[in-house]
């Protein structure tokens, strides 16, 4: 069971949240001129990182607001929680995972 610290409501159990997958994926701006490969990359491909991963969560059973989390996908340790639209804070990256 993860304990996630919602930036708006404080620490709650993972069951209150829904998962939004990888963070910081930008919708391509020049969309009418994209090739099929570029669309495929945007729609389907993802980094599926083993180690520190930046991801989106939404507090479904609470404030219903989205935010970003930096989490280690091996130890599941949550390293940082930060607001949507902001850059990830500098993290003490573990190289050994």
């Amino acid at each position: 069971m993860l304990e996630i610290k919602c930036p708006y409501c404080g620490p709650r159990f993972e069951t209150e949240f829904s998962y939004g997958g990888e963070a910081h994926i930008e919708r391509p701006k020049d969309s009418e001129n994209l090739s099929d490969e570029q669309w495929g990359e945007y729609v389907f491909m993802n980094s599926n990182t083993k180690g520190v991963f930046l991801e989106r969560w939404v507090h479904t059973s609470g404030c219903r607001r989205w935010f970003n989390v930096a989490r280690d996908t091996v130890s599941y340790q949550i390293l940082a929680v930060y607001e949507t639209g902001t850059k990830a804070p500098k993290l003490d990256l573990r190289k050994d995972v």
Partner: protein, 417 residues
Amino acid sequence: MKSRYSIFSLMRNALSYHEKWPEAWRSPEPKSSYDVVIVGGGGHGLATAYYLAKIHGIRNVAVIERGWLGGGNTGRNTTIVRSNYLWDESAGLYEHAMKLWEGLSQELNYNVMFSQRGVMNLAHNQQDLRDIARRVNANRLNGIDSEFLTPHQVKDLVPIIDLRGNGRYPVLGASNQRRGGTARHDAVAWGYARRADEHGVDIIQECPVNGFEIENGKVTGVQTAKGLIKAKKVGVVVAGHSSVTAEMAGIRLPLVSHPLQALVSEPVKPVIDTVVMSNAIHAYISQSDKGELVIGAGVDKYVGYGQRGSLPVTEETLAAICELFPSLKRMRMMRQWGGIVDTCPDASPIISKTPVEGFFINCGWGTGGFKATPGSGWVFADTIANDRPHPLNEAFSLERFNSGYLVDEHGAAAVAH
């Protein structure tokens, strides 16, 4: 040539107190180069090596495994085998696997304990019923045995089920594939390993892969903990770690790795002689030959490489099992574990060539790869040997994520993700 396993070899070895059985496969040091290197010593990888050697005559093959044979998802799944998938492409692939399962113990001279006890998928609401009816009909058009069961027929086959589902999960019907069932998962890895070894395949365990040698867009070797191994072709079949491994070759995949968990109960007398699955509530159950109830749960919703599942998922699954099978309420669970499954956006696998020449990938089996083990190895071996996809896996290319020709099997995949 190794001795065949038979009643006679069993009796002969009984006379020497079973202390003189020959090793089932060698543990050689890797050679400096191979025609084909398979990365991943699970069922799929070992099956690939076996069919490469047996059907395609490519015997200069190595299987490289980070841990031990079948120590990943091959040894962590709930051993269910079925082929009742919706689309023609999937039906072809999974039914091919099913036909190989039916002769596998003889083929491998190894008892994989394939038991065609039937696999049932329950419907709990009107939409489930419609989906199941559609899938049953699609299966029959593809020549796959599949039938629709009324609630009373379900009750006849599974007397311990509560058709009211305690009011919460009423059973309105089910689909049933009688040729489906279970198989001993470890035996599948060991059987393929033994036969592949017999055909000259080198099986190298405890040897993690650190990278790939690529020259002018063509793979030339594999960097491992035991040094550089040259290879003309490389096949990667590493399930949960597919994204991580493909990234070493500069290839991006559309996969998301989730922990998927399962548990077994204390052993009891026979209470259920088929497999009951419920797509809607992420719970499925069967009984092993030892008497343990084998229960499969859903995936953790987040990306995870820890081979363990989270408690809320366990609770949800067991709550559903208790409502469907009230007599199991006081059973105690003995073990719980997790495996990392590589889920694909369309819940179908990727068995494909890649932008890197000579580099092949077989991944994205997600929550349901075990059932396809023989078929997966068979088509992957054919793809590697001939450097083009076999008609059975043509639709399962990496290219489909550009063309949009997805094979959506979320309904038949049984574990939602």
